[in-house]
Symmetry: C2
Subunit: 191 residues, 2 copies
């Protein structure tokens, strides 16, 4: 739980007593590469803070085609938030791409912590602010950018993921074909 405290204290300091309270709401879970964390149609009871590992969250259409909404790595929060906040069933899948440790938090826990401690409400607000701006950037990128621009932006924002994630999935995330991605990789190496 030391890592949780460090993560929270990047936003706001918490006392020992406060942290004792905070940590009671989190449960640790270990998950192996290729395991699903959640699948479409399942009840979404948790959001997750990733301590280690990499995940991908995706939507599957009725023909089985996969659309990647998000990758998530260390210190990222992740959930099918439409389902989580509305206590509904998942419309997305989350799968583990690298052995992982995660902390699980229920919606009740999130709301209770926010209500009990102004600091934790602040913490969650700041995290949402960052998530919201990242999503606004992704929407603009999806609407307007060329594959080349999207590729370069992804590499700049997430160099660690660019190295660790198989090209197949990066192509899917960027909405380009494998061939286009290979061409972009080659062009970039030449620079």
């Amino acid at each position: 739980m030391d890592r949780l405290r460090k993560h929270i204290e990047e936003i706001t300091p918490v006392s020992d007593e406060e942290f004792e309270h905070v940590k009671t709401f989190f449960t640790l879970k270990r998950i192996k590469k290729h395991q699903y964390l959640i699948q479409e149609g399942e009840q979404v009871n948790f959001e997750y803070l990733i301590l280690s590992g990499i995940f991908r969250m995706f939507y599957l259409d009725h023909e089985g085609k996969e659309y990647i909404v998000q990758f998530a790595g260390e210190n990222w929060w992740m959930a099918d938030y439409q389902a989580y906040f509305n206590e509904k069933k998942a419309s997305l899948h989350i799968t583990c791409m690298e052995d992982a440790e995660i902390l699980c938090l229920t919606l009740y826990g999130r709301e209770k912590l926010s209500s009990d401690l102004h600091k934790m409400e602040h913490f969650f607000r700041v995290k949402l602010t960052k998530g919201y701006t990242a999503q606004q950037r992704r929407i603009i990128s999806l609407l307007s950018s060329s594959p080349q621009q999207r590729y370069e932006e992804f590499g700049q924002l997430y160099p660690h993921m660019m190295q660790k994630i198989p090209k197949k999935y990066i192509a899917e995330y960027l909405g380009v074909s494998r061939e286009t991605l290979s061409r972009l990789y080659s062009n970039n190496k030449g620079k």
Copy 2:
């Protein structure tokens, strides 16, 4: 300012004394149809709560092509949040599509209110939560849906906007041609 209080109290009750403090951070602005609220390259000092009117927020590429990120109507919050939260210059444009009244809030004001009043931090967190889930839905829709699905989803989510906004802009928002949109309108009328 009565409308601001009503808007806040949809999330959390506030006392007269608290509201007296809250309202000092907001300034009212009237804006006419076709006026720009913000343009690319300008310093972003405010976010806006829309009391009346409709706005569209868009990105212009270097060839002058417009990509609509968002429409916003009564009781919506709106800003170029990447710029607002990072105190940077706008990369988006916001323009008024129907005479409007808005309330303006600085980042300092938002943070001060959140710090002074746990209730207001809660209010902003709840609003961000709703915005975040709406964006996650839009990303999935952009990635995976057919024009027909996007059209139907937009009509279900925002029937009021569907009626008020010129078709040209709805087509842009959905990422379809005018011709495709006209076909979707006709198909739908036949149902």
